[in-house]
């Protein structure tokens, strides 16, 4: 199990792709396309390159900030969280610009909260809401198309804290 290092939890699908976790380095340059998952005092950095090399799902939806349907590629957030972590009541999402949002876990487990890193086929740069953007399947579930969900759709995601 090459991905297993110092007993760190391995992401369900990451095990399938030949993806190995990089060594924990907190002093990394702020711009590296990475997303920190924090759970039970552990930090699991997800590297964009590694995620992108794995299997990707597609979500086509409109958003309140763009015109026309957008094709997002990424993964349902549920799939990158450790299975046991979905028992936490909520997630705290932090963005590069220090924006923070508090999201109930139900959005992940029931409403299909989606972690996108490609929009209309291209990777998203920071200046275009990248590298990670949390979107909801608004097109398929119009009941989610409400301001309370809009403000949980965080872009430029830097870290996700569980629990």
């Amino acid at each position: 199990m090459p991905a297993e290092r110092s007993g760190r939890r391995v992401l369900p699908w990451a095990r399938r792709s030949a993806f190995s976790l990089p060594l924990l380095s907190l002093a990394r340059p702020a711009q590296a396309a990475m997303l920190d998952l924090r759970w039970r005092d552990e930090v699991t950095p997800l590297e964009l390159a590694a995620l992108d090399a794995g299997p990707r799902q597609t979500l086509t939806t409109h958003t309140p900030w763009t015109s026309g349907p957008q094709q997002f590629e990424g993964t349902a957030l549920r799939l990158v969280l450790p299975l046991a972590a979905t028992a936490s009541p909520r997630l705290l999402v932090a963005a590069l610009d220090d924006h923070r949002a508090d999201i109930p876990m139900a959005d992940v487990t029931e409403h299909g909260l989606f972690l996108a890193w490609r929009r209309n086929a291209a990777l998203m740069p920071v200046r275009d809401r990248g590298p990670f953007w949390l979107v909801y399947p608004w097109a398929d579930h119009p009941t989610l198309d409400r301001p309370e969900f809009h403000c949980r759709s965080v872009w430029q995601v830097r870290a996700i804290q569980l629990g």
Binding site: W65, S67, D97
Partner: protein
């Protein structure tokens, strides 16, 4: 009998047409009511959209300020800020791109305006990026680029404000045009009802004639009567008919309900006999007198259920075949709700929706109006200190509630005739009229005092203070803009002095403002060019006067202006975002100097002041750790001095950081003790090593009074907490003797030693050595 059949046919035809006309009118009037409702809804929706656009622009402004702050620090040599610049630029870029607004752009005037500016802003970003990639940031060439970004954003915020006014004006026009249609609907209704009543009269007349001839005719007439009755009763207007003498012959349901009488009570008597309101009779009397109806009139008429309502009243004469006036018809419509909507629109136009106070536009008109008279008056600008912090910690609902309470309290402090307005989010203004010399400052002081009292909002108590800047018009014709700008300068001065202060404009403030900006630029350059230096003031034990340590004091010898006091340039540096580079400079120099003394054989503890703004900031702790590591100075030889204001706001981050410093072995001192903060509660869980008694208490030792008891209390308190006590600003032998008697441990001041260059410190150390060895 033979006449009845054709009449019935005519009646039936007329009846159907009249009923259709009446229903049409009801539909029109009802539809207009719903139209008004719809407009109010649309107004709310537009407000929401405008706010969304406004928020986007604000986000961009915040990101721009963050970028500028990083840039200033990077230009001053802060490597960390320099490394983070590309990310900050990207985030700014993202915010500027987002101003595109997507599908919302067309809804927000601020975003629509910015759309045109976007290419220019993106060019400025591009230029910024090119310059940043080319080498170390040069503020001089980057600042113009920043202002190319800032100007459109500021203009857009302005537009968002103005467009709100425009929208309310539009709302008003919409209501006016609706009311126009409303009057046309009313005329149609009048015409249709007149026809109906005429038919009713004909039907009754014929029925009476017929009754003389045949029994069957009366049944016919009753049927015709009741059909017409029910139509007229259903009309949403007050319909009544009178005979030529002004006595009721007919009144529909609405009239009965409005006057609180039954039709039986009304018929055959005049309104005056019945004691009904006089106002509504005027049009009837005029008709009786002149025989001519005149235009519809709007009258205030008391309702039977109490209260006045607005009625639109029209009267029409009924003539017989020879042209003699046989009766009069009166139709009135209740337009109270429409007038209220119109009134609300007027109010919206010049009042703030949250607090109900007049808004900037209305205040501007008041100001221009009073400037046209020779009256002396004062203008106060009032700002809630740290309103953003309250919004962040208590939520926006509490923030809104605070603004309402604040506005109400402010309103309650003014004399009748004075004006108060809300100019922007947390900015209020007061127009104090008919001022006599001294009035302005007296009111400002009273407002600062009262507005600083705690606010009870729902279940919680919120503390906040207000800063006030005032300007006066004594004589002459200053423009409203000049007065506002002068008050703004005074406000800035008040804010610089701390929270809850007030200040009155003086001409010097104008020159001071431009001088301050120049100084800030020079300070950034001085920091870069290494033109600052440190002086060290020794501290001595009491009573043997041996040096136990030094305090590092930053000095700036300006090439033209000479020595500039830290009391002047440190706040300037903080204002310009240079607090951290300045702290780094002092820490590096002080620790290096202490190492040199150590190399010369003297372990001299050195104290460094850190501004309250830096304590609790994530970057400060690593800075201290790194500086210690680089210099190699043992941690116990470094003392960090903070002021009490660090603990205002119950900042957990500040406590954590000071505890972290102590855990590293660094000593923590509390500077200016007794001046800043009234509560000692923070000392319970915030252990400190040194407490420095403020010089004002030491000065007081010469003067008698309470100072000795205060010093004694502080000494006991400090010793009880395990801290040593340093007295600052000791200038006379008497003070030193008193301090010794009160048990103070260490003294610092001109009596013992002034701040000196580092070379001279060794002499003091040499003097201390034999004694301490003994």
């Amino acid at each position: 009998m033979e006449k009845i059949g054709p009449l019935r046919g005519v009646l039936n035809g007329w009846r159907t047409a009249a009923m259709a006309a009446a229903l049409l009118c009801i539909a029109i009037v009802g539809g207009l009511g719903m139209g008004l409702q719809h407009m109010v809804q649309r107004h709310h929706q537009e407000t929401e959209q405008n706010r969304w656009g406004f928020l986007q622009v604000t986000h961009a402004q915040i990101e721009l300020h963050r970028f500028s702050a990083h840039l200033a620090r990077a230009a001053a040599g802060d490597a960390e800020a320099r490394a983070e610049l590309p990310l900050r630029l990207d985030l700014l870029w993202g915010r500027i791109n987002q101003l595109d607004g997507g599908q919302h752009r067309e809804d927000s005037p601020a975003l629509r305006q910015l759309h045109a500016e976007q290419p220019a802003m993106q060019q400025a970003l591009q230029a910024l990026e090119t310059q940043l990639n080319a080498g170390p940031p040069q503020l001089a060439s980057l600042l113009p680029l920043l202002s190319r970004l800032e100007a459109p954003l500021q203009a857009a915020t302005q537009v968002a404000h103005e467009r709100r006014q425009d929208r309310v004006r539009q709302h008003l026009l919409d209501i006016a045009s609706q009311l126009h249609w409303f009057s046309i609907g009313f005329l149609l209704l009048t015409a249709a009802t007149a026809v109906l009543v005429a038919l009713l009269a004909i039907a009754s007349h014929r029925a009476q004639a017929a009754r003389l001839r045949a029994e069957a005719a009366s049944a016919e007439a009753r049927e015709a009567n009741s059909t017409l009755r029910s139509v007229i009763d259903g009309v949403p207007a007050l319909v009544s008919a009178f005979d030529a003498q002004g006595r009721y012959v007919f009144a529909n349901h609405s009239v009965c309900a409005y006057s609180g009488r039954t039709e039986a009570e009304l018929v055959g008597r005049s309104p005056t006999e019945l004691g009904l309101p006089e106002t509504i009779e005027a049009p009837l009397r005029r008709l009786q007198a002149t025989g001519c109806a005149g235009p519809p009139e709007e009258l205030s008429v008391p309702h039977a259920a109490g209260g006045m309502r607005r009625l639109l009243v029209t009267v029409a004469p009924l003539h017989d075949a020879t042209g003699v006036l046989t009766g009069m018809l009166r139709i009135s419509m209740d337009v109270t709700a429409q007038r209220a909507a119109e009134h609300e629109a007027r109010h919206l136009h010049d009042h703030d929706a949250l607090t109900g106070l007049p808004n900037r536009a209305r205040f501007g008109r008041e100001l221009s109006g009073i400037l046209a008279t020779p009256e002396t008056f004062a203008l106060h600008l009032i700002d809630l200190d740290q309103f953003r912090l309250i919004n962040d910690t208590h939520g926006h609902a509490t923030g809104d509630a605070l603004l309402i309470a604040f506005g109400r309290r402010l309103r309650g402090m003014l004399r009748p005739g004075d004006e108060v307005a809300r100019l922007a989010a947390d900015e209020f203004a007061v127009l104090q009229r008919n001022t006599k010399p001294g009035d302005t400052l007296a009111l400002a002081a009273r407002m600062a005092q009262a507005l600083g009292q705690p606010y009870q909002l729902g279940g919680s108590i919120v503390r906040c203070t207000a800063s006030i800047g005032a300007s006066e018009r004594a004589t002459g014709q200053p423009s409203p803009e000049t007065l506002l700008a002068q008050a703004e300068l005074a406000l800035r001065e008040a804010r610089r002095e701390g929270s809850g202060r007030f200040s009155l404009f003086r001409p010097e403030l104008e020159s001071e403002a431009s001088e301050r900006r120049a100084l800030q630029a020079e300070l950034a350059a001085a920091l870069r060019n290494d033109e600052l230096h440190l002086a060290f003031q020794p501290k001595f034990t009491i009573p043997d006067r041996l040096m136990t340590g030094v305090e590092a004091l930053l000095r700036w010898n300006h090439p033209q202006r000479g020595a500039i006091s830290p009391g002047v340039f440190v706040p300037l540096a903080e204002e310009a975002g240079l607090a951290l580079p300045l702290a780094r400079y002092v820490l590096q120099r002080a620790t290096r100097q202490a190492m040199q003394w150590q190399a010369a054989g003297h372990a001299i503890p050195v104290a460094v002041n850190l501004s309250a703004e830096l304590i609790g900031l994530g970057t400060t702790m690593p800075l201290v750790r790194e500086t210690l590591r680089e210099s190699g100075l043992p941690a116990h030889l470094l003392e960090i001095e903070v002021t009490e204001s660090t603990f205002i706001g119950d900042s957990q981050a500040a406590r954590d950081m000071l505890a972290g410093l102590r855990a590293m072995g660094i000593r923590v001192g509390l500077d200016d003790f007794g001046t800043g903060f009234s509560s000692l509660a923070y000392l319970q869980d915030m252990p400190v090593d040194v407490i420095k008694i403020d010089r004002s208490f030491v000065n007081g030792l010469d003067l008698g009074g309470a100072a000795p008891r205060i010093v004694e209390t502080v000494v006991r308190l400090a010793h009880g907490l395990g801290a040593s006590v340093v007295a600052e600003g000791v200038e006379t032998e008497t003070q030193l003797l008193a301090l010794a008697a009160l048990g103070c441990d260490v003294a610092q001041g001109f009596l013992l030693a002034r701040p000196v260059p580092p070379e001279q410190i060794l002499a003091f150390a040499e003097a201390a050595r034999p004694a301490s060895a003994a």
